[in-house]
């Protein structure tokens, strides 16, 4: 495992970065450049890019409700991005957030419909649902971690396989009518029953989708992860294993334990995101609502350079672009897929900041690199 991009968190560096505008400037330029590329694509089909972008912008932030909706759309991405970022710090490439979200959501949705939950006060019911989501995700994340640690099975293979297994498994549990398992047969689409009123997360804004307390859950989670990584022994060990497992073992770190724990926690973060969606947005579990959240999490985490705090703005950008796109399609008749191209370009230009510097003539100041091993693929 490569270690040339060692993490450097000394305070003076942090101060330098705070007073140096480059860390903010480069991403902004990158976003600008990405929009230019998207604009060319829009212009090619004969639509005025400025009109399209004006509609997109209003779709994202046009009214208070739309702002709330954009934020709400971003909330689950924070959890799924943390699922990748944390495992990445331990040198593991967790492509499995998609499956971990499904199992976490399933567990949360199931727990929310337990009979006693309907007359349990919220202060107990909500934590039960959230914990159930965490446990579900942690279980699904723990399998590849345990397999990696014990048999050496590559986590890229196992997480990809577990994604599909989770998809078909939850689909069966939800779809099956004979035997009826978790399906709410009175609903027109296959889904679980609605969870108990008391188990629902309080709504902040009745937007589309609704903004709920899950936002603070996810923001808090980012802080917790940042704290774990920077201030705890476990976090230090995790980063050591990710940077150089041989050195970590030599220094007395139980590498297997770290690998399993990192995957359990990563899966748990995805499970939390799913639980917050189930308890705050849909009030039931339906596999389809989680499509692509895990895969987008990969891109968001990489956009944030696996920094847990930077994941917040990255997820916000991601979610609001997706939430604004339908208005652009409606008003300017431009396919929402343009947003995907823009997202890809943002990621590209943020990563390849040399291009941005070259275009905008920005002097190379701080060397910023991904705070993680350059590959999760090389076998440790």
């Amino acid at each position: 495992m490569n270690n040339q991009t060692s993490t450097d968190d000394r305070p003076h560096r942090w101060i330098l970065q705070t007073w140096n505008l480059q860390p903010v400037l480069i991403p902004l330029y990158a976003i600008l450049l990405a929009f230019i590329v998207g604009g060319v694509l829009i212009a090619l089909i004969g639509v005025n890019p400025f009109e399209a972008y004006w509609a997109l912008l209003r779709g994202m932030f046009g009214t208070p409700d739309r702002i709330a909706g954009s934020i709400a759309r971003s909330v689950p991405f924070i959890g799924s991005a943390l699922a990748l970022a944390f495992a990445f710090r331990a040198g593991l490439f967790n492509i499995g957030a998609e499956g971990q979200l499904l199992v976490g959501g399933l567990a949360a949705g199931w727990a929310g419909t337990w009979a006693f939950m309907y007359d349990t006060p919220g202060i107990i019911a909500i934590p039960i649902v959230i914990v159930a989501g965490f446990v579900g995700g942690a279980l699904w994340g723990g399998i590849p971690g345990a397999l990696r640690a014990t048999t050496g099975a590559h986590e890229v293979i196992t997480t990809i396989m577990l994604n599909s297994i989770a998809l078909f498994g939850t689909r069966w549990l939800i779809n099956s009518t004979d035997p009826k398992i978790l399906r709410d047969t009175s609903a027109s689409v296959p889904r679980t029953k609605e969870i108990s009123e008391t188990a629902r997360l309080p709504q902040l804004v009745d937007s589309q989708p609704p903004l709920h307390m899950g936002l603070f859950l996810m923001l808090g989670l980012c802080l917790v992860v940042a704290f774990i990584l920077k201030r705890t022994t476990f976090g230090f060990e995790t980063i050591t294993v990710g940077t150089n497992p041989h050195a970590a073992r030599y220094a007395g770190v139980n590498v297997n334990r770290i690998i399993i724990l990192a995957m359990v926690l990563a899966g748990g973060f995805a499970g939390l995101a799913a639980a917050s969606e189930v308890a705050g947005t849909n009030y039931f579990f339906q596999p389809g609502t989680f499509a692509f959240i895990g895969f987008d999490g990969i891109a968001i985490a990489l956009l944030a350079r696996t920094n847990p705090i930077a994941i917040i703005p990255a997820a916000l950008l991601w979610g609001s672009l997706l939430s604004g796109a339908p208005l652009m399609q409606q008003e300017a008749d431009v396919s929402i897929d343009v947003v995907r191209v823009i997202q890809a370009m943002v990621l590209l230009f943020v990563a390849a900041d040399a291009i941005v510097r070259w275009v905008f003539h920005v002097r190379d100041g701080t060397e910023s690199h991904l705070d993680a091993p350059t590959t999760g693929l090389s076998s440790a």
């Binding site: 050496g152 196992t158 078909f168 929402i336 343009v338 947003v339 590209l348």
Partner: protein, 445 residues
């Protein structure tokens, strides 16, 4: 990671040197663990499954219905015989170490016997009388096509030292762009334009690979990021093309490549007709796998590519131009991904749907790691996946029931993923990536 200390254990001779790396720290070799599982399966078959099967004669068919060649068998007998072999293979695994080769053979045969076993159990539990085995093989090979091609893409990139998460995007992008050309220029029906479109698909794959190469070799950005960029970009671009170009053109569906027959081989009785007639891109896949092996392991250039992936500094010392070689290998991989994309949009069907590759690129990546970064191993991974998928849909079609409980179709759909996981975790063990993979390289001049 525990297996780092897997040197021969003190006081116990593990293996004949052939499989030292299989040794586990707990004093049990991986082969013994696998053997134990096989033996227990055998006991379960003999005591649990076979006595409960009531159905009488079933048959494996090898040709389509009228006058089909069939082999009839009694499910109870066949399952019992296989069960006996499983028990024997399990016992063999615990013999002294010098019988190691015997144990290996026993287990390999047991693995091969899993095919008739699953089919026999499936048939016995369903109402159908016979099932066509040749067809099953044909479907397996067909389903393995994009996986094998994608795995070769990954192989060329990763053996040269460049991680490729973007196989999916390269395949999707070339499928979308290729079909767009076909729809616009050839109304999705004209054969000459079909071949132009396939060429365009290959060039698109190569273009996306070039992007990947420039980003990861020239700009030295994290190679996983670059791969994710390609996946996202391809998803957006092809979705955009579909809704803005393909659908308005009115040519969303068209004529796919026509089947060809391999001369002579398709005349082989029973099997030839089914196995040696098919789409041209499907047959191209075999050629590509073979050439990948030939070029990568039997030519000087292939050796150069591999040395760039293992130790670029040493390679440079020998006068190999690492940067150039890596560009060549990655772009070659892109062409192969283009063939896979063309297979999706112009052979499996003539049409493009959003996200139509449906994570085949990721499965190809898994197949490549499964094959421990070797062409034939990766091809084996692709075949395993294709076969289990074909088997899953076959069993689903047979309507298998245990008692009154119909096995859900979702189980059969997830069969390929389950089997791959079990094989990877149980029997395969650690796969070691090319040493320099993922590391940017700066020439030392």
């Amino acid at each position: 990671m525990s297996n780092e200390t897997s040197a021969p254990l003190p006081g116990r001779l593990v293996g004949s040197g052939l499989n030292k790396e299989l040794a586990q720290t707990r004093g049990v070799t991986r082969r013994q663990v696998v053997g134990g599982v096989i033996g227990l399966t055998g006991i379960a078959l003999l005591l649990g499954v076979a006595p409960n099967i009531t159905s009488d004669t079933k048959a494996f068919a090898f040709e389509p219905p009228p006058d089909a060649l069939e082999i009839s068998f009694s499910p109870v007998l066949l399952i019992s015989l296989i069960g006996v072999w499983y028990v024997a293979a399990g016992v063999m695994s615990f013999l002294p170490a010098r019988f190691d080769r015997l144990a290996l053979i026993g287990q390999l045969v047991a693995a091969a016997l899993a095919v008739p076993l699953v089919l026999a159990v499936g048939l016995a539990l369903s109402d159908a009388r016979a099932t066509n085995v040749t067809n099953l093989l044909d479907e397996s090979l067909l389903l393995a096509t994009p996986i094998a091609l994608g795995a070769m893409t990954g192989l060329w990139c990763e053996r040269s030292g460049i991680v490729n998460i973007g196989i999916e995007g390269m395949m999707l992008g070339s499928a979308g762009v290729g079909f767009t050309f076909y729809a616009i220029l050839g109304n999705a029906t004209s054969t000459p334009w079909l071949w132009v479109a396939i060429l365009v698909a290959m060039l698109t794959g190569a273009a996306l690979a070039t992007l990947h190469a420039v980003l990861s070799i020239k700009y030295q950005i994290n190679q996983i990021v670059s791969g994710v960029v390609i996946n996202l970009f391809a998803l957006g671009l092809t979705g955009f093309l579909r809704s803005e170009v393909i659908v308005p053109s009115g040519n969303s569906k068209g004529v796919a490549t026509s089947e060809i027959e391999i001369p002579l081989l398709h005349r082989i009785p029973v099997l030839g007709e089914t196995l040696f007639s098919g789409g041209p891109l499907h047959f191209a896949m075999y050629g590509i796998v073979f050439l990948t092996w030939l070029v990568m392991f039997r030519t000087a250039w292939g050796l150069r590519v591999r040395s760039c992936g293992e130790n670029p500094h040493a390679a440079e010392t020998l006068g190999i131009r690492v940067i150039v070689t890596r560009y060549q290998a990655v772009i070659l991989g892109g062409f192969i991904a283009g063939v896979a994309g063309a297979w999706f949009a112009m052979e499996a069907q003539a049409g493009f749907e959003d996200n139509m590759t449906n994570s085949a690129g990721f499965i190809a990546l898994a197949a490549m790691i499964f094959g421990k970064w070797t062409p034939w191993g990766a091809f084996g991974g692709a075949l395993l996946f294709g076969f289990t998928r074909a088997l899953g849909s076959r069993l689903q079609f047979l309507n298998v029931e245990i008692g009154d409980f119909g096995i859900p179709s979702e189980f059969f759909q997830s069969l390929p993923f389950l089997v791959t996981m079990v094989v990877v975790a149980g029997a395969l063990g650690r796969a070691v990536a090319p040493a320099a993979e993922g590391l940017p390289y700066t020439p030392s001049k």
